[in-house]
């Protein structure tokens, strides 16, 4: 035998760690509840087959804590013998336990078959497998992330469609004997309610349709794509009353909550690892060495690249450690110089950011002022309409280049450099959307005349301002897709052709491009943030996002396979998964802010949309609550009042402090046990001769 079985020691080292107080109390609770003595078996390595057989006939009366045969690290022939042994023991067990055992076994078999069936339904399973085999798990995580976004957008679309669009359409066309009710708003100035979208104007040139399709105006403005279509206040299906404004608002909250929960659920694993093990590079060397080889690689060329990247990674880490020691030995004068340099560079970074924001603000104001006037050719009009998108894309492209140039002077360790540049790029991309929305609002709420103040918003230029915002988000999304398509067609493929057919030095030195995972991920997160913000103003936007990401998957896949070379600096799959989800979460939280302000602060337009009769979009909720029975109203008021919130907050703080204290206590126990383990080695009582 290759591996000689050791005698079961009285206390193997890892069992000491199982004497943590929490684990012991959990064991005691389990024993008290089940009435059995379940000692969690130490890894079967310390007991060969013979020990397992010896254990078998012993447990006659009690519950067999034996593991299924396949979880034992033995050959198939030995596992067969173990299983026959286990089955022989079944005769000694009472009928009830026997039935329980066989039913749980068949249940497990059924579950595994169902799981196998579901795995066939998984979208793009084979594509992602092949990418994993050729390019490794780092790039595969990007494509899995893309698949996740497609599914998320599809579910959001289903949500909005079934609760908002479908009832509107059904009641408008009177299907299933339904009808609708439109309540005309009271106490509103009549000039606020005038809204005449151009819609379908009969015979027009074909390119007008194209222009409308690209900018969301004209015939698209009156469809269910935009907020302005939903003017119904209530839909009646026989005797059931469907409150559409409330449904609209609740569906918005529902899709935000759904996105939040789903992202948190997906990131829970990576979060646990990163939170617990964040103290100075805990176990990073063991992780890289023991789990370093990517067993999915089948291509020898890819294997060579993997070897090189592992060597590079290990050398960089060792170098970084030496650098850290050097940094710790820095003199006061050097520290002062470096810190002042860093402050100076951060000021430059802030200046660059302000430059970006200001240019976006000016571009938006210019675009809004001049797009209503049809100046000259339609193409210039289209360009003016798309000006904010163009400026944002330019800013998203230029700013990261500047950041990666500047960070070289700041003298950080390489890993921190990468992280800081990424965080700055993330901030630029997401803040650009915020600035766009802010400039839009400043235009919308700019009020000079009294009549305008009576409405609360600029009713002349923006009779239906939510549709305007929806159109801007729509344009951003379309432009984003066009840029990605154009980038692949006009940059990646020509570059590949150039490198293949032209053998001059500078071209060959440039070489094929690498698949920049972080850049691509930031791109799609930017698109997803637009979708989240825009769905409130344009309920069918998630459908467009789903289709867009669907096509992007194939575009990126083709670009990867035909025009990219594998990255020299690898990004680990585990850390990249967590990083993608954290940035996505930041995008979602940043999407809450503009939506919150739109819903609760800015007066809703009185000329269109479901919230015509309310002051703000949020006002429908207090209105509905007033219609509840008084008892329920009082309960809800109580929950929202300070008398409930303050004690609730204090209780949450107490619970948090308790867990922090518990974690600190466990850490101290682990330290003590580690020291004991070292001492145990020299204690003759515990020493066993090693084979």
């Amino acid at each position: 035998e290759v591996f000689l079985p050791e005698e079961p020691r009285p206390a193997a080292p890892v069992d000491f760690l199982q004497e943590l107080p929490s684990y012991q109390s959990a064991l005691r609770r389990r024993a008290a509840a089940g009435g059995t003595q379940e000692r969690r078996a130490a890894p079967q390595s310390s007991a060969g087959l013979r020990a397992a057989e010896a254990r078998g006939p012993e447990q006659e009366g009690g519950e067999l804590a034996a593991r299924p045969a396949r979880e034992c690290p033995l050959t198939i022939a030995e596992k067969r013998r173990l299983r026959d042994c286990q089955q022989a023991d079944i005769k000694y067990i009472s009928g009830w336990k026997q039935w329980k055992r066989t039913s749980s076994k068949s249940l497990k078999k059924v579950l595994s078959e169902v799981r196998e069936l579901f795995s066939y339904l998984e979208l793009w399973r084979r594509d992602i497998h092949s990418i994993e085999g050729k390019f490794g798990t780092g790039i595969q995580s990007y494509f899995s992330f893309l698949r996740f976004l497609v599914l998320l957008n599809f579910i959001i679309f289903i949500l909005m469609f079934s609760f908002v669009t479908l009832p509107s359409i059904i009641s408008e066309y009177g299907i299933f004997n339904s009808s609708f009710a439109k309540i005309s708003p009271k106490n509103i100035e009549p000039h606020c309610t005038v809204y005449k979208p151009s819609g379908n104007m009969g015979l027009v040139y074909f390119y007008t349709y194209l222009k409308d399709l690209l900018s969301g105006t004209g015939f698209l403005e009156v469809t269910s794509l935009f907020y302005g279509y939903y003017t119904i206040d209530a839909a009646w299906l026989s005797i059931l009353r469907y409150n559409l404004p409330l449904a609209y608002l609740l569906a918005t909250f529902a899709y935000l909550a759904l996105s939040l929960l789903w992202i948190i659920k997906r990131s829970v694993e990576g979060f646990k690892q990163n939170l617990v093990h964040d103290e100075d590079q805990f176990q990073s060397y063991c992780n890289k060495v023991f789990a370093g080889w990517d067993f999915c690689i089948t291509d020898p060329h890819a294997a060579r690249l993997k070897h090189r990247s592992l060597q590079y990674e290990l050398q960089t880490d060792l170098e970084e450690e030496r650098l850290k020691r050097k940094i710790a030995d820095r003199t006061m004068k050097e520290k002062l110089r470096i810190y002042s340099l860093r402050i100076f560079i951060n000021i430059i970074v802030i200046a660059v950011l302000s430059g970006c924001f200001y240019s976006i603000y000016r571009a938006t104001v210019f675009s809004q002022e001049n797009s209503n006037v049809s100046i000259g050719h339609d193409v210039t009009n289209l360009l003016v309409q798309y000006l904010p998108s163009i400026v944002i894309t330019l800013a998203n492209f230029i700013a990261p280049q500047i950041f990666s140039f500047l960070i070289r002077f700041e003298d950080y360790s390489p890993a921190f450099e990468i992280r800081l540049t990424l965080m700055r790029c993330v901030f630029v991309r997401l803040a650009n959307i915020g600035v766009l929305l802010f400039s839009l609002w400043s235009q919308i709420s700019y009020c000079a005349t009294d009549e305008c103040k009576a409405c609360g918003y600029n009713y002349e230029l923006y009779p239906c301002w939510e549709s305007e915002v929806g159109q801007e988000m729509y344009k951003l999304m379309i432009f984003d897709f066009i840029i990605i398509l154009a980038g692949t067609l006009f940059v990646d493929f020509p570059r590949k052709l150039l490198v293949t057919y032209c053998s001059c030095k500078p071209v060959q030195w440039c070489g094929l491009q690498e698949f920049g995972i972080s850049d691509n991920v930031l791109e799609i997160i930017y698109g997803q943030t637009i979708c989240w913000i825009g769905t409130f103003f344009s309920p069918l936007l998630p459908a467009i996002a789903t289709i867009k990401y669907f096509f992007i998957f194939y575009i990126k896949k083709i670009s990867l396979i035909h025009t990219c070379k594998p990255a020299a600096r690898p990004i680990r799959a585990s850390s990249s998964n967590f990083f993608f989800l954290v940035v996505l979460l930041i995008g979602l939280v940043l999407a809450f802010i503009p939506l919150g302000i739109s819903i609760a602060h800015i007066p809703s337009s009185k000329a269109c949309g479901p919230f015509r009769s309310f002051n703000t979009s949020w006002a429908v909720v207090p209105d509905t609550i007033l219609g509840f029975p008084t008892g329920l109203q009082q309960v809800l008021h109580g929950i929202a009042s300070e008398a409930f919130a303050v004690p609730f907050f204090m209780v949450i703080c107490l619970i948090m402090f308790y867990f922090i204290a518990l974690a600190g206590a466990h850490k101290r126990v682990v330290e003590q046990l580690r020291e004991q383990l070292v001492m145990v080695r020299f204690d003759p009582l515990f020493c066993t001769p090693k084979v």
Binding site: V2, F3, A12, P13, V14, L17, P43, Q44, S45, S46, A69, R70, E71, P73, T75, I76, A77, R83, S112, E116, H129, E132, G270, Q273, H277, Q283, Y285, C286, N287, V289, F290, A291, G292, W293, D294, F295, C296, I297, T298, D299, P300, A302, A303, H307, R308, L310, Q311, L314, Q315, L318, E321, R572, A573, S574, R674, L677, V678, V680, R681, V691
Partner: protein, 200 residues
């Protein structure tokens, strides 16, 4: 059993498929699904010369043939994997179909992390002495960085790396990593469960 199956195949000359009881048994004893076992059987028989294909169950494939599989071809641990999973008495590291299934089962996605870490330990234990000492770790790192002279780490770097690894994982400070310490360190390693998978 395999002998009955071979007899049946010899009599009927039917296509060499696994009988249902054997299939069910393998499903129970490994982490592979029915599809995966059938696919494994097909691939295993392709490694055999034509005459032996009927008795695929009981035949042994020499090590040189196993190493032609795409998953193992590019793997720096190919020799250790063959050594660990082979149950050959003659020490020539040939594998039978059941050894092959064992190997696929350990590397599949549904294998428990316990099993994976146990076998990973055996694969990394180059001198088969039950612990990972400095020589084992050195050979492990050299496997990872590649076989060429210029792809090895310098002596100073290797020293520093091994010192760091032992600092992180050697709990009882005896200078070697035993199975329990290995399993402990690997159970908290975020990349281990992802990378342990062998695809078809």
């Amino acid at each position: 059993t395999c002998e009955a199956e071979a007899a049946r195949a010899a009599m009927g000359g039917s296509a060499s498929l696994l009988p249902r009881e054997l299939l069910g048994e393998y499903q129970e004893l490994t982490f592979l699904s029915k599809q995966e076992i059938l696919l494994a059987y097909k691939r295993f028989s392709e490694l055999l010369p034509k005459e032996e294909r009927e008795n695929a169950c009981s035949a042994r494939v020499p090590k040189s043939q196993i190493l032609t599989l795409p998953e193992l071809r590019a793997n720096p641990f190919q020799h250790r994997i063959c050594r660990v999973f082979s149950t050959s008495d003659s020490g020539d590291d040939s594998m039978s179909f059941e050894d092959f299934l064992d190997m696929l089962s350990v590397f599949s996605d549904s294998a428990t992390s316990d099993i994976k870490s146990h076998y990973a330990f055996r694969i990394f234990d180059f001198d088969d002495d039950g612990t990972l000492d400095r020589k084992d770790l050195e050979k492990l790192v050299n496997c990872l960085t590649g076989q060429g002279k210029e792809s090895r780490l310098s002596n100073a770097e290797m020293e520093q790396l091994i010192r760091n690894i032992l600092e992180e994982s050697d709990i009882d400070k005896d200078g070697t990593i035993n199975l329990s310490e290995f399993q402990h360190v690997v159970s908290r390693s975020p990349d281990f469960t992802r990378y342990g998978g062998l695809q078809r």
